[in-house]
């Protein structure tokens, strides 16, 4: 039986794409605080405060709720 061909590393093709997605979406530097990892359609996190880790959807809901409260004169007066 002949020896297998030497392995040539690749940066193209399906496996390379899978490896790149693994790395670019799950690894890489995370600049905590004031930076949002914002990827549409994927459940990622908004890193605002060290103690606050919420989904972007939750963060959006919180932001919307805060905005509607501040726009409501009854709330402002209270």
């Amino acid at each position: 039986m002949s020896d297998p061909e030497p392995i040539i590393p690749r940066t193209s093709g399906d496996i390379a794409l899978a490896d790149l997605l693994d790395r670019a979406l799950h690894k890489g530097l995370v600049l905590w605080g004031e930076a949002t990892i914002s990827v549409a359609g994927v459940d990622l996190v908004y890193l605002g405060l060290k103690v606050l880790v919420a989904s972007t959807e939750t963060a959006d809901r919180m932001r919307a709720a805060a905005a509607s409260q501040s726009a409501d004169p009854k709330v402002r007066a209270g």
């Binding site: 590393p9 995370v30 600049l31 004031e34 930076a35 549409a40 060290k50």
Partner: protein, 226 residues
């Protein structure tokens, strides 16, 4: 918004760089001895489509040819240059230490398939079929060989400055590892990968790269492991 690509230790020398995500021109935010490569975008969320991820990758790759760089995770946005500068300043020491770690290095990804897993027999102690199934699953998870224990040719690590073994699961049964390799050691590392394939023709081995050092760039500023 600013989309961020990489933290660099110096401004890249004047050269043609690829356009950023959405076609925006690259700009550089400086703070002390650090530089962050970015481009402006009106978007507040970036779709993780292959074309976008490849664009992120192309930009990072072009930057890394110019200077040591820490690639940022895909999709990182900040409000503006002021916020970006604040982040660079706040994390200056950790970022500089991390740049030292990856300088002159590239990352290779290795996948090894075809390793037989040992799954223990299913002894039912009590409960119905559902309980038995859940126990079997729990045992299977517990007995899943950790990559550290079963990586078949640990000698590869000798050519690497660092190594990261990805966790395995039923949906990701292949052994996956990231190797941080100094550029002068790349040929020896790849020769060893080929030697591994010769020694174990029963295994399916794929190697991709060289990549920017994504797996070795996070000094865990969040306090959470990625």
């Amino acid at each position: 918004m600013l989309y961020l690509y990489a933290v660099l230790e110096a401004l890249p020398a004047a050269r043609t760089l690829p356009a950023g995500i959405g076609g925006g021109e690259l700009l550089f935010v400086e703070a002390f001895e650090l530089v962050c490569a970015a481009s402006e975008t009106p978007e507040r969320a970036i779709a993780p489509e292959p074309t976008q991820v490849w664009r992120h990758q192309q930009v990072v790759e072009a930057l890394i040819d110019c200077a040591a760089a820490l690639p940022l995770r895909f999709g990182t946005l900040v409000e503006d240059a002021v916020a970006c500068r604040r982040l660079l300043t706040r994390h200056r020491e950790a970022l500089c230490a991390q740049l030292d770690r990856v300088r002159h290095c590239v990352e290779f990804a290795l996948r090894v398939s075809g390793l037989r897993e040992e799954v223990g027999s299913d002894h039912v102690i009590g409960g119905g079929p559902g309980v038995s199934y859940m126990r079997a699953l729990a045992r299977r998870e517990a007995s899943w060989p950790p990559s550290t224990g079963t990586f078949p040719h640990d000698g590869l690590a000798a050519h690497a400055a660092d190594r990261l073994l990805w966790s395995r699961s039923a949906s990701q049964p292949d052994l996956r590892a990231s190797f941080l390799v100094l550029k002068p050691n790349v040929a020896a590392f790849l020769a060893d990968v080929s030697a591994l394939q010769r020694m174990r023709p029963d295994l399916g081995i794929t190697c991709t790269g060289p990549w920017p050092p994504y797996s070795f760039s996070d000094p865990d500023l969040s306090g959470m492991s990625p």
